[in-house]
Symmetry: C2
Subunit: 154 residues, 2 copies
């Protein structure tokens, strides 16, 4: 078992306690370590009448994946900051007809370093995070989210 204090168990607890919708749409943290972050969600709670996943659910799981990655990063840096989504783009490439996973595409080290520097200097910073929804082996959606983090006062 992992002893990472900011791994899957930590993030699952934060998602479930901080977002009213997270448990309802069945988001489960599958992987959260230095190699990546993957959320899993079931089709049933997120389906439309055609038996494919609703675009709003695919977006929600994607935006939570980016949030979880940033929340883990900030926790590991002992950085007391809140993260919110500021802008996003989403492309729907193919329908999702089964349970699905949201994979965070790790941000470039240089972008993360700039983000960390801005947080130190200005108490706020922004970072773009890319997330792919995969169903089986194929990429079904591509999400680009620009997140803003702000240090908590005090």
């Amino acid at each position: 078992m992992s002893t990472d204090p900011f791994g899957a168990i930590y993030l699952q607890r934060r998602l479930s306690s901080e977002f009213a919708l997270a448990d309802h749409i069945g988001v489960r943290v599958e992987t959260a370590d230095d190699t990546g972050l993957v959320l899993h969600a079931p089709l049933a709670a997120n389906a439309n009448y055609k038996g494919t996943a609703f675009g709003g659910s695919l977006f929600s799981v994607s935006v939570l994946a980016g949030w979880a990655w940033l929340t883990r990063y900030l926790a590991r840096e002992s950085c007391e900051a809140d993260v919110v989504i500021q802008e996003s783009r989403m492309q729907y490439l193919r329908p999702v007809c089964a349970d699905f996973r949201a994979h965070v595409c790790l941000p470039a080290d240089v972008d993360v370093a700039n983000f960390r520097r801005m947080l130190r200097r200005a108490a706020r910073g922004r970072l773009g995070v890319h997330v792919e929804i995969r169903a089986g082996d194929s990429v079904a959606t591509r999400f680009e989210g620009l997140y803003a983090a702000a240090m908590r006062p005090g």
Copy 2:
């Protein structure tokens, strides 16, 4: 009472029966007529721990508003077509701290006419729809969705 066969009651039934998530997030069709389309949603089911609306919920209500407008348009045209979201952009301008509404910004007549022509000629067409979330009088998010419609076979 309105006697519009494709008004609020018709769209509410379609939303509730076609999207597993719609009732859970409390989406209610407030207005659906030639002057516009407005969906309403409660904060409680869509809140995060800070008492503001979750970005995924704001997106979901926006994407459903665009879908509902197109679904109403196609029904009125006696056009048997399915509508899906293909691409989207969303800007989050300010937090939403109360129940909120998604207002469809009516597409330009020329764009709707092109969309209708493509559906007739090629059995498929695409239309961009803009939706604003408003809480009180201020615009909280701006959504641009590109929707694809495809005629049902037969």
